[in-house]
């Protein structure tokens, strides 16, 4: 189990501090003191009841036969998520996985929590209703590149801009798997598929850039096969107060095998992967000889060979940068062929969550006096018939 760094736990203001004391939820006050030693401190989950018995990954497995293709990257992600869940230290019954449609969206069936396998693209909307009406739940959305970025693009960006307390895991395999191999909104231009025999004409989305355009408060990226790194991003996402989008590069070994090989092959991965670590300079490469600098003319980030002369100009990663253009510039380092792919936490900033704000409005209204239905029905303008 990896301990989160101090800053992940404590840095920044807690959501309570963002609200005046009289707007704090009574549930929040009650639950805040009941965390057990089993759990790490997850500020975003303080309203969710904690378990008092230690959990293991096996507790989160269901008796359902997992029906992904043998060799699918989804297995690795499922194992990582099941392995990570005990760190949350939450009562299992207070965790919900909501998904849309697609291979990845079968995920909830394999998690021994509450779950809903909904309809294509709508999981963020459904999860929004659940999360905002049940602050005592930890709500996770599992979606794919087609589900989240094509048919459900609207719901995704609106959930992110509202900062609903959802953890959205976007499995990006850059292909439509369940419908047997059409190009997706993240497929590269020119991709030959069943529906694009002469090559795809669509310019792809960069999901990280898209989320940052919606001013998502947490955006991260991980790779299915790197469990340690995936787990650390999941951890940071879980700790984040509000919407967290985690893009997970996931290999579809049937319809798009090897899509992320550049970032997985031990001979190439270090040269093309930029690991984002808060507070650390953005240096990478097999010999740690490359770095990220800002072009003073355009403001964009560029890759340079690190020399003693330019060493001081290498950008030091700060995921808490308020201005989303910093993380956006990072996201633009990647090209369609994945050269220079940052992985890790791009952005992690504080903003009041939609859930907390909605609860606060209700509480404020209730403090002015609870609802009197009879009085309301009566109104101010009546007459009596005898």
């Amino acid at each position: 189990m990896t301990r989160p760094t101090d800053r992940q736990v404590d840095e920044g203001r807690s959501p309570e501090e963002l609200q005046s004391p009289n707007r704090r939820s009574p549930i929040a006050n009650a639950v805040a003191n009941t965390a057990t030693a089993v759990a790490l401190d997850f500020p975003s989950l303080r309203l969710v009841p904690k378990t008092d018995t230690p959990q293991k990954a096996g507790d989160f497995k269901t008796d359902q036969e997992v029906r992904w293709c043998p060799g699918c990257g989804d297995y690795a992600i499922l194992a990582a998520v099941q392995g990570f869940m005990p760190q949350l230290g939450l009562k299992k019954e207070n965790i919900v996985f909501v998904s849309g449609i697609g291979c990845s969206s079968r995920f909830p069936y394999y998690m021994n929590t509450y779950g809903m396998h909904s309809i294509h693209g709508r999981a963020p909307a459904i999860a929004t209703g659940l999360s905002t009406s049940r602050p005592d739940l930890s709500v996770w959305v599992v979606t794919g590149d087609g589900d989240a970025l094509s048919i459900g693009g609207n719901h995704l960006i609106h959930a992110l801009r509202r900062n609903v307390n959802l953890k959205i895991l976007l499995f990006n395999n850059r292909i439509y798997g369940l419908t047997k191999g059409q190009y997706s909104p993240t497929s590269e231009v020119g991709k030959i598929t069943k529906s694009t025999p002469m090559g795809s004409l669509d310019y792809p989305f960069n999901p990280i850039s898209l989320a940052l355009g919606a001013e998502a408060t947490f955006v991260g990226r991980a790779i299915d096969s790197d469990r340690k790194q995936l787990t650390s991003v999941l951890q940071a996402a879980a700790q984040h107060e509000g919407s967290a989008l985690v893009e997970i590069y996931q290999n579809c070994n049937i319809f798009n095998d090897g899509a992320f090989e550049l970032l997985k092959d031990k001979d190439t991965k270090d040269d093309w992967t930029i690991r984002l670590e808060h507070g650390q300079p953005l240096r990478f490469g097999a010999h740690n000889d490359k770095g990220v600098v800002r072009n003073p003319n355009t403001g964009a980030f560029e890759i340079v060979d690190v020399t003693p002369d330019n060493e001081n100009t290498i950008v030091r990663h700060d995921a808490h940068t308020e201005d989303p253009s910093y993380a956006f510039a990072l996201s633009r380092l990647s090209t369609q062929d994945l050269r220079y792919t940052p992985v890790g936490v791009f952005r992690d900033v504080k903003r009041p969550t939609y859930d907390a704000e909605m609860a606060a409005q209700l509480e404020t209204a209730q403090q002015r006096g609870g609802g009197n239905l009879q009085g309301l029905l009566h109104g101010n303008d009546t007459w009596t018939v005898n």
């Binding site: 909307a125 659940l130 049940r134 404020t364 109104g379």
Partner: protein
């Protein structure tokens, strides 16, 4: 103009008359003034007895310009009173609506009692010295007209004075001007000798109780609120603004103190999705929309059918197809509610019949949703939404008890089966997240009977489709039999309606009976499933007439289900039926049934003169 109508309605309601209103306005926010499509009107019908419609032929018309006169003149009976503001009867304004000469001068209004007044000038004089711009002062002319009509019908204006002072509390000069205009209008009536008669309509005899005036959308919002209270569940409303349903969103958004979460979503799909998500979490999920929005929600309604979770889907119908007539009424979403989904996806349908009935219908929709764990359609319409009538305020403790139980225990040995059903209702257990030991996964994929696990088994699918249908059909056992109003007991013809046509049909049936003929009337509140006795009722009459503001959607269902060749009478003008017109239709059918004794000819061919 709508505000003026509201105030006159309120004065009339306070006086104790029975009343019914018909606001009628264009879809455009600021439609071009002085054109026929830009005319905004408000019709109110009041009486000393129980009335059912906003009236066919107004006895008094207040026309603020030539367009308003032209647009409404056709509705007036000869001898009606017309009050006209002459200010806008300029050559240009007349030409704009196609008057070659002023109708005030060319003798074309000779059959009416016309009162031509310089309403605008009189108003300007009344507010002179209050420091208003000419434009603002001119706006008070509606209040002058209201004062005059109030005097004509012996209404008190005190409540309107109070209303204006409150409404314009932050603009005392505007308040003062409106009050001055209102009083000046009243006084003008009193002092001028132009009006030889005034009218006094006595209070109507109504059952004892406390009354208020209420519009359909307000009653509907209150009904939903009451449902949440009586179910002891928090309400989650997901909605996207759409005419004519937005008022329900606005109203429920005000009631946070009742714990109502009102969520304005990014689109119609997210609106219902969020409501369904909240239902999964144990709230009373509600979504409100109109026809085009409901079309977008179809897939999620299907999901709710499959998940078997409670959900109230409100469709305040308007003219269609597509954008259609956003501010006008129609009943053309019945088949959309009934069938507008993929697969076999039955959804119960409840329809209110009058503005105040929207309250009870909302409670009934919630009852079915909660008891049977199903989405339910509540089909209101634009006429009910904006129309208003007196409402006897109910006692909260006498409203239906809607409490339902969440599952808390395992129900199949040491397992929890989310699709193990209640043998009586066939409803499945509602196990909300947070309940230990009942963790389960549900989805839109077909489920194995009982365990709820994914199942592609052919026999299981057949069973599940039939079971979901049987659950909805079984709701019949919880709804009252259809009541038939057949005062003489010898009627051969039944007129059967649903939704907002109740008023005009009832008024038409009264007229037929007044003429010495017999006719029976019944009105459906439950459109799916139908009441158990409906087939017997249909077969008890020689002919059944079904008037609808569509091209025969209920008629199609009745013919398909019961093999009864009902007489379908249809109109899709964006306006409610006129009692007079329905009277003629019903009279023809009664006569025909008496003449032939058997059903002949095409039932669709019902002649009526317009």
């Amino acid at each position: 103009m709508q505000l003026t109508g509201d105030r006159f309605t309120s004065e009339t309601a306070s006086f104790g008359n029975d009343l019914s209103t018909l606001p009628n306005f264009p879809a455009e926010i600021r439609a071009p003034q002085g054109t026929l499509p830009g005319v905004s009107s408000f019709q109110v019908h009041f009486a000393d007895h129980d009335i059912m419609t906003p009236g066919d032929r107004p006895d008094v018309l207040v026309a603020m310009n030539p367009a308003a006169l032209k647009a409404n003149l056709g509705d007036l009976p000869r001898g009606a009173t017309i009050i006209v503001d002459t200010h806008d009867f300029t050559k240009r304004a007349l030409a704009k609506v196609g008057y070659e000469a002023s109708p005030l001068e060319d003798g074309s209004l000779d059959g009416y009692h016309v009162h031509s007044l310089g309403l605008t000038e009189l108003t300007l004089q009344a507010v002179d010295g209050l420091g208003l711009s000419r434009k603002d002062a001119g706006r008070a002319k509606n209040m002058f007209a209201l004062g005059l009509v109030s005097w004509l019908y012996s209404r008190q204006i005190d409540s309107t004075v109070g209303f204006l002072e409150k409404k314009f509390a932050t603009k005392p000069d505007v308040a003062a001007a409106n009050v001055a205009a209102l009083k000046a209008g009243w006084n003008y009536g009193e002092t001028t000798e132009d009006f030889s008669v005034t009218y006094e309509v006595k209070p109507a005899a109504m059952p004892a109780g406390t009354y208020r005036n209420i519009s359909g959308n307000l009653a509907l919002a209150y009904g939903l609120l009451a449902a949440g209270q009586r179910a002891e569940l928090p309400i989650f409303l997901g909605a996207y603004p759409i005419t004519p349903a937005s008022d329900v969103l606005h109203e429920l958004s005000k009631h946070k103190r009742f714990g109502v979460r009102a969520f304005q979503a990014e689109d119609e799909i997210a609106a219902i999705g969020a409501a369904l998500g909240a239902s999964f979490g144990g709230a009373l999920g509600i979504t409100t929309s109109s026809g085009p929005g409901v079309a977008l929600k179809s897939e999620t309604i299907g999901l709710a059918v499959s998940l078997e979770l409670p959900l109230v889907v409100v469709d305040v119908q308007r003219g269609g197809p597509s954008t259609g007539l956003p501010t006008k009424t129609e009943q053309s979403d019945l088949l959309q509610a009934m069938f507008g989904r993929n697969g076999e996806a039955p959804v119960p349908i409840v329809a209110p019949r009058s503005p105040s009935d929207c309250f009870d219908a909302a409670l009934e929709a919630a009852r079915i949703a909660l008891t049977y764990r199903t989405p339910v359609f509540l089909l209101s319409d634009g006429y009910l939404a904006n129309g208003s009538e007196p409402w006897k305020v109910p006692a909260v403790e006498e409203l239906p008890d809607l409490r339902t139980e969440f599952a808390t225990e395992k129900n199949h040995g040491d397992e929890f089966w989310p699709y193990l059903r209640d043998p009586e209702t066939l409803a499945r257990p509602w196990a909300v997240p947070g309940t230990p030991g009942l963790e389960h996964r549900i989805g839109g994929i077909e489920k194995a009977d009982g365990s709820g696990n994914i199942s592609y088994d052919p026999a299981n699918h057949d069973l599940m489709v039939r079971t979901r249908q049987a659950k909805i059909d079984g709701i019949t056992r919880s709804i009252p039999p259809l009541e038939v109003d057949d005062p003489t007991g010898d009627a051969e013809v039944l007129v059967l309606g649903w939704g907002s046509t109740y008023g005009p049909i009832g008024a038409a049936a009264r007229r037929v009976r007044k003429n010495g003929m017999s006719i029976a009337q019944a009105h459906l509140r439950h459109l799916n499933p139908f009441p158990a006795n409906l087939p017997e009722v249909l077969k008890a009459y020689k002919r059944v007439v079904v008037p609808e503001m569509n091209l025969g959607q209920l008629a199609l269902l009745l013919r398909g289900k019961y093999l009864v060749d009902v007489v379908s009478y249809n109109q899709v003008r964006g306006l409610p039926f006129r009692a007079e017109e329905l009277e003629e239709v019903l009279t023809n059918v009664v006569n025909e049934a008496g003449d032939t004794g058997t059903i002949t000819g095409s039932a669709d061919e019902i002649e009526v003169t317009r």
